[in-house]
Subunit: 440 residues, 2 copies
């Protein structure tokens, strides 16, 4: 039985577009054997050529919207990035009845609900494996492989730049700014690193993962986001002494009150597998009620790792292109999501419950520790460990606190009161602590 080729239009021939072009070309024979039909590049829409790609014999246009309207294209691959033009391109392709594959996390996190609604109405596929954690097939694993489970929580290192910086801060005892500058020089960080180090990129990805895990609409605007710029080499060292490592995690948990959706620096026990994920690599830990803890690891960015996910989506499209729409895997894993499901609200940050690491500088006077302990006790926060270091900076003494799990609201009050004490100098550093064990 010979099936017709699937005809692909690639929009954007930059890093990921070039990688996709090359993987589709290099592995064309294997890909056709997997799909049962060839997947051919029918057209490329790009303003600039990519010196790594030989487009000889390929129809190349500078007008990406020509690809979205081309009647000979079955699937548009959106790899231009950004919000507005990408959104218009994808909506145009859907209008013209084309399936869409995209690696654009910002687009899906922010405009996914409307894109999926439009695609649903047209009966076309929108696939986005490459939008989260590059080449790691975590969308497929969550949406299909763990489909038997009620997901209880997930936690991921889903920004390679941030993990690169934290890894080098720890291994070499260096300061954030120092490693960031190096990462920029090496091309691992953008000249404007805000998206990466402030956690916005990770929040885009976490938003997508949470929707798929729990069956809720995309709600990027409700994600809590905190960056890693305030982490000091001393925090990294203190965490190490306490048996922890600091990672910039995207965390989403199912609780009685709704869903937690938060990106922030986090202390995790050294013995967790996530703690051994170093450099630019990504990994996502997922806890299901049946399967227990699982983890998915790999390259979260880069030309060919991301292309690997784009082409995997194209393989799925090739298999499902003639399938009736209601037999396809739902965009957000559960049927009916695009219409909205508010049964699991995203919780405000002050309602989340976690443990905390606090670092404060106290005046070296008798009774300071007692006053600190009293403030915690009055807020119902119990202390797991307290370490008073030797005095530095004249008479100031660093105090490190590790608390048991408590509500963020109580911790906010603790920190407000601590900072108003005359004995405490400057702001209190607060880093959340997650055990990521099977019970949580």
């Amino acid at each position: 039985m010979t099936l017709k080729p699937v005809r692909v239009g690639i929009c954007g021939l930059g890093t990921v577009g070039g990688g996709t072009f090359n993987v589709l070309t290099r592995n064309a024979e294997d890909i056709a054997r997997r799909a049962g039909r060839p997947i051919v590049i029918e057209q490329v829409g790009a303003r600039r050529a990519n010196p790594d790609c030989d487009t000889t014999g390929i129809n190349v246009t500078e007008d990406i919207f020509e690809v979205a309207r081309n009647p000979d294209i079955d699937v548009l691959v959106e790899l231009i990035g950004g919000y507005d033009v990408a959104r218009e391109l994808v909506m145009t392709a859907i209008e013209h009845g084309k399936h869409v594959v995209t690696a654009n996390k910002a687009l899906i996190a922010v405009y996914g609900n409307e894109i999926f609604q439009a695609a649903h109405d047209k009966g076309v596929i929108v696939a986005f494996e490459a939008a989260v954690a590059g080449g790691i097939p975590v969308i497929k694993s969550l949406r299909e492989g763990l489909g038997a489970n009620r997901i209880q929580w997930l936690a991921g290192i889903i920004n390679g730049t941030g993990n690169y910086i934290l890894t080098h801060m720890r291994d070499e005892g260096r300061a954030f700014e120092d490693v960031l500058a190096e990462a920029q020089a090496l091309g691992y960080a953008e000249s404007d690193p805000t998206f990466d180090v402030e956690g916005i990129d990770a929040a885009h990805k976490l938003t997508i993962l949470a929707s798929i895990a729990y069956g809720v609409p995309l709600q990027f605007d409700k994600a809590y986001t905190e960056g890693i710029a305030r982490i000091t080499a001393d925090d990294v060292e203190q965490a190490d002494n306490l048996g922890y490592i600091i990672k910039h995690l995207g965390i989403s948990k199912r609780t009685d009150k709704g869903l937690e959706l938060r990106v922030h620096p986090t202390l995790i026990p050294k013995e967790r597998l996530l703690a051994s994920v170093h450099g630019v690599k990504n990994a996502i830990a997922v806890m299901g009620d049946a399967v227990g803890p699982t983890l998915y690891y790999g390259a979260g960015a880069g030309a060919e790792p991301t292309a690997s996910a784009v082409v995997a989506d194209l393989l799925d499209v090739a298999r499902d292109i003639t399938t009736a729409h209601h037999y396809r895997v739902p965009y957000l894993a559960f049927s009916g999501i695009v219409e909205g499901d508010e049964s699991l609200p995203i919780m405000p940050m002050e309602d989340i419950v976690t443990a905390y690491y606090l670092r404060l500088l106290a005046v070296d006077r008798p009774g300071v520790l007692a006053r600190v302990a009293t403030i915690l006790s009055e807020q119902g926060v119990s202390i797991e460990a307290i370490i008073q270091k030797e005095a530095i900076e004249g008479e100031l003494v660093p105090i490190i606190l590790l608390t048991h799990r408590t509500r963020e609201k109580n911790m906010n009050e603790v920190i407000r009161q601590l900072e108003s004490l005359a004995d405490i100098a400057g702001p209190v550093t607060r880093i959340r602590v997650e055990s990521l064990d099977e019970q949580e």
Copy 2:
């Protein structure tokens, strides 16, 4: 749009059967939302009741073949284990036009080719995610998620019992027999542990993974299998001193000469993520040409982890049940495999290339090291590290050697010559060493 329920017949209500029954029942609502249709247990075939399962209102028969012939069953779930009856049951179900889901690695590794041929001829699905690494969706990841890639190698901890034993030997400096006895007392090891500790179970799973990774027929009889019973506490300690950890790995590599397919104890660098996989957990590292290194981690056995994979397969069946057979994902990832593809032969063990750890006991005489080094040199084996310890057992001195990569045939000759030296007492211990880096 309301679709008809998918009607499932579960054969076997032991550990995995009971887990599957309970997950399908407990998460029925979520599962139906994912599949777009309910997945209902129409019949159970089991000789004994499972006290953990409430089968009230379910049609239970003691004759599993009644399930295979029942016209009201769409999918037979084979969870009885073993070879012959399971094979007959699955073939009967296929004859009767039923789709099959199985967790039976021995069945697939040994009889998979004929089962897939029969299923192909009947146009039915045979799904077996649960046959490898329990709840980890590694079959789906390899077969679909990494479909863009030419897989270069894979290496996995795919037997929980063996990993439990090695973990405790290392953490507590204990002997193999001692930890095995404990694992048996705790129910982590069978009273006859042969399948687990001799690597047969791992070879079944490796055989399946390799077929899917490279697109070759199942060839369990060509897998090399070596157990962990000869590993000593001293080997574990020496490996540790050299920066390695010993894991019982299933390894399959694509080379110019064909495929390597081997299960044996292996020294791997401590910094590899696989080295941090402890206790009964499983993990599989996969290297693709586009994606680079990836890893999949989770519970490799147990009632509900395995059920998680069985139910994921049922979700796939529910989606594909009305799909024409040639649009479905091929059993072994590539179309045309069931007819056989000999383009990638499984290599004989003596042709594989790897590095080696050798431990020998030498008489404490001048010139021994030189004689040892000469033997290696004459076989073209270069030495990375050589450690001569203090004398034990009278005048015997343990010598630890770490070699660079060489052909197994040459190493066999080295060991033959070493063991024939008058200066060397007893057999030479040989453990293979894999760097598992991105280049290999």
